[in-house]
Amino acid sequence: MAHASGRRRTGRLVRVGDSAAGVVITLGGLAVLGSMLAICVFLVGSAAPLFRGGDAQREPDVVVDSEVLPSVIVFDETGEQAMLVSPRGRATVVEIGAGHAWGTVSLLPEGVEARVLEVSASTGEVAAGFEGGAFVGGAVRSGYALVADAAGEGATGLRAVDEGQADRLARAARFDHADDRVVAMEPAEGGARVWELAAERGEVASLGDGLAGVSAIASRQVSSRERVTVAVLENGRAYVASARSVRRLDGGPARERVSVTPIVEDAAVDAVPPRWVFLVGTNADVVMVWQDGRFERYAEVERGVWALAERGRFDDGGTRLTAAVAALGGNAILIGDAEGRVTSWRLTSSEGAGRDAESKLTRSISVREGTAAVTSIGVGRRDRTVAVGFEDGSLVLENLTSGKRVAGWKGEGGAVVAAGVAPAVNAAVGVHADGTLRVWRLEPGHPEATWLSLFGRVPYEGYDEPTFVYQSTGSPGSEPKLSLVPLIWGTMKATVVAMLFAVPLAVLAAIYTSEFLHPSWRKAVKPTIELMASLPSVVLGFIAAMLVAPYIAAWLPGVIVSMGVVPVAVLVGAGVWRMIPMSTRRRVPTVALTGLVVIVIGAGVALASVSGDAIDAALFEGGEHAAAGLRAWLDSGQGSAWPGWFMAMILPAAAAVMALWWALIVTKWNAITDGMSRTSAGLAQLGVLAVQILAVLGLAAFSAWVLTAAGFDPRRSIFGPFSQRNTLVVGVVMGVAVIPIIFTIADDALMAVPKSLRFASTGCGATAWQTAVRVVLPVAASGIFSAIMIGLGRAVGETMIVLMATGNTPEMSLNIFGGFRTLAANIAVELPEAPRGGTHYRVLFLCGLVLFVMTLAINTTAELVRQRFRKRNAAL
């Protein structure tokens, strides 16, 4: 094209293409950023509701008879109805949201009034004590029946139905227990709704002289056959009645046989009787609680003999206890005091104890600190959420384990005399002193999840101390335990072990290929190792589980020994190599040398696996099979700790000996060998190596002896029971997975070091190794660092290998022969079974978020370092 002006011009098409490319690239970049942000927002959005409280919605109030205020509120399973039970045994049934009570009946036979009646909202167990010292234990199990053919038309409100009616209703509703007792019904479409109590009433026990009434009572089903009821009389005496059901020989209905045992018989005349009594713990110890904060615990030392086991206080003195209930299936007592504190107490056995004698009532959590006195505590049935009522009319719902506040409000009408929460935490009620019943429907949110329960130590039921536990789907009776710490621990453990294995290998390999290997070889080696990176991790996981794990399990001592023997074999090989004259050495081609190295390593492995048996036999009294002795040593925890320490100390001892050698002796030694011929210098070198090995073994044996003598046992830390799919397996296989990444990036970093620096160093007379260590490595250090970090990022997020090569037990130990569970594997394992939107589901998203943050932090560090590296290298 001839331009008139002769000036050069950029064509229009080029300009358009240029700006189009600019737009496309900008859009692409923004899309990447945007999707990153979207993932982040999605994860945060899915996990964030965990930390929110619940929602409460007020339902119409109900007014109940303020003369017979209830003390206990029992909800049904669905949270639709609540039964308010008064201390005299009257029960009022209220429908949530209906705004009125169905009516009131007596739980006891017509005309009988209890002096004290306790109902456990968590177990439904009832105990009634009467004037004159008689008492009875039993249970109510509530349920619903929609009775189709009941004559409900005319029925309004609650009424007690007579024996015959009950029978009919029960049959119609397919309940065939003869002594079911229907206590409430309300007309409903096509029939009547019936509140049915399957009451198990025990035999009435009568005790004492008939002069003192029962002042406190508790009852508990301790086994399928036995119910224990404890009663404290006004005069301070206490009795335990054990009711065992006895099957009749003629096949008729079982009968109860009651035996009564006195616990306290010689109470002082003017002693104040305890205000509450509980049956606590697996052995149903009797705990008596006084209002001034004192408690006494009695344990059955042998059949029928009770003795005082413990005496203590529930407070620091000075405050009055105002409320106490049994919680967590009778395993804990919740105590409320006049200052508004609620504390949870549990029977814990101190370490190493055999039986109860060592048990103690200890405070597990302070649920809440209020401002007014606690007037009532209501416990749920399954969930650990409790409702706490205060004197100033406020009601608070809180989770016992996590301490999380689900909801709370303040109402008029005076103190909350009774509080209750539905089993599914979808409803709560509080009865005020003036007879107003405030009713709330709840959206509980995620009561188990708090920062503390997710990341801290939590005092779970059944654990003596607050611990980190992850157990998302416990058995029906146990609560979910959601600490992410064991998972984070597992992730770090896997990563650290894999990196310990991968980093030295990958970095040394990169140094070798970039600094020593002939360029034509490098061209072949590098793509081969990079190809390794494309190996699917599921294949590696498969190899780990099917090949590596059984191999390590079968050859454990040999595998461990080879870690020491192989490096020594290589060193010996190098020493021999040095004895060969230079001219001969130079003639050996690289391929042959590599082959020689492989042969030496193979010889080391062979030697190790041969000596593995012998070492196992010598150190661990191994049996006929190679790994038997070591495995038994690990699993049983018995035998001396010395052999384990010895093996564990070899590496540190080797490091110490080498450090000593380099720091103090090597220069002098070099001066000596300089004067020798090659062969004798090589021989001397080998001699020194032998001395060094002996020194290492000696040092390891000595330090192992010292540690054993000091009473340390490695089986409590780095060693422990052996599981086939263990940390070592994951370390090796995941190491193999990250080696290509680290190698490639490290090699690039090394190759990016300007040639001129290598020439400068070589020109000064430096060997290739000196050049690599003194010049190339420092310049490439940040690049190698970022290579390690990127490998770390990959290891942290790696899923398939850990999933397949470990037992996925979320344990927290240092044991290299133990399993673990990582965040990533946890998500993979549990997401399919987590109901959408539930606490578990959101916790899994939180796992994802934690993982995301971890890898992001690692990659960002790597990138920052690399930026710095680039800037510094620009000056070269």
Partner: protein, 292 residues
């Protein structure tokens, strides 16, 4: 031994005047370099005997035979690509690092053949110092840069290192400029200072021969002048082989000058002879800038 090769001879030039060398080379004929008679009296430290070098298939040096006078500055000149750097790198066997290099003939340092299989290359390089065209200090402190050759020899005594550093820096005429900042990075120095630092590094371990490959080509005239002064000063102590494109520089700093062309040594003699009355017309044309 081998004196026959470097005996001053009447080469092409004396017989046929005119630009003949290129034609002879193109014709594939061999020829002997014009070596001035003055060289015969000089004691030698280094000599090459029919030394040839190939990079893979392509030959870079053709039967180079020359000797390096002890304690003198010798300049290598010649058009770009004629093999000056290759010859220099052959002396300390830096060419070993290049893939596919093959050599023939000999180079002897103090009578010892350096391409003998028994020779330890590392020891050889320790006896020679090399300075490259582009300053290449290590990314370390000035001090560490200078004492690097001692460090790799295992020297750790602080006092010895400090003394050697000061001496080398003084000889490289850099001491006064950097004595207060020895601990700072060498990358913070100017190009000229960096090059003098590289010279200090090259001489700190007392090499027998100093090899300089266009040490001033990346520097401004003032820095160049300082380096030239420096070369003249250190020439009293060391034997120097310097490659340069700058004729004035060669004339100023060197005692002897070798003119290379297309991988051959063409003319070699005292600098003032090469620059004022060369035997061959090619040399004359090159040094006067009319050819090359």
């Amino acid at each position: 031994m081998g004196d026959a090769v470097i005996e001053p001879k009447k080469g092409l030039g004396s017989e046929r005047r005119g630009l003949r060398v290129a034609e002879v080379i193109r014709a594939g004929e061999s020829f002997d370099a014009e070596v001035h008679a003055e060289l015969a009296d000089e004691p030698e430290i280094l000599r090459a005997d029919t030394f040839s070098l190939w990079y893979g298939e392509s030959r870079a040096l053709y039967d180079i035979s020359m000797k390096l006078p002890r304690g003198k500055v010798t300049a290598l000149i010649g058009p770009s690509g004629c093999g000056k750097s290759t010859l220099l790198r052959s002396v300390n066997r830096m060419n070993d690092l290049v893939d596919g290099v093959r050599v023939d003939g000999e180079i002897r340092l103090e009578g010892e053949s350096i391409y003998d299989p028994r020779v330890d290359v590392i020891e050889l390089r320790k006896r020679l110092g090399m300075v490259f065209q582009k300053p290449n200090p290590f990314p370390m402190s000035i001090f560490e840069n200078v004492v690097y050759p001692l460090r790799i020899d295992g020297e750790r005594r602080k006092g010895v290192l400090a003394q050697a550093c000061e001496r080398a820096l003084r000889q490289a005429a850099l001491w006064d400029e950097v004595k207060d900042r020895l601990k700072q990075s060498a990358l913070g120095l100017s190009g000229g200072q960096q090059q003098r630092l590289c010279i200090a590094r090259a001489i700190v371990a007392d090499p027998e021969v100093l090899l300089l490959d266009e040490p001033c080509s990346a520097l401004d005239p003032v820095a160049t002048m300082r380096i030239e002064e420096l070369i003249s000063e250190i020439a009293e102590r060391y034997t120097v082989l310097i490659v340069t494109h700058n004729m004035q520089q060669a004339a100023r700093v060197s005692n002897f000058t070798a003119f290379m062309y297309l991988g051959r040594l063409v003319e070699y003699g005292p600098s003032e002879a090469i620059f004022s009355r060369p035997i061959l017309p090619e040399t004359e044309q090159y040094v006067t800038g009319r050819f090359g």
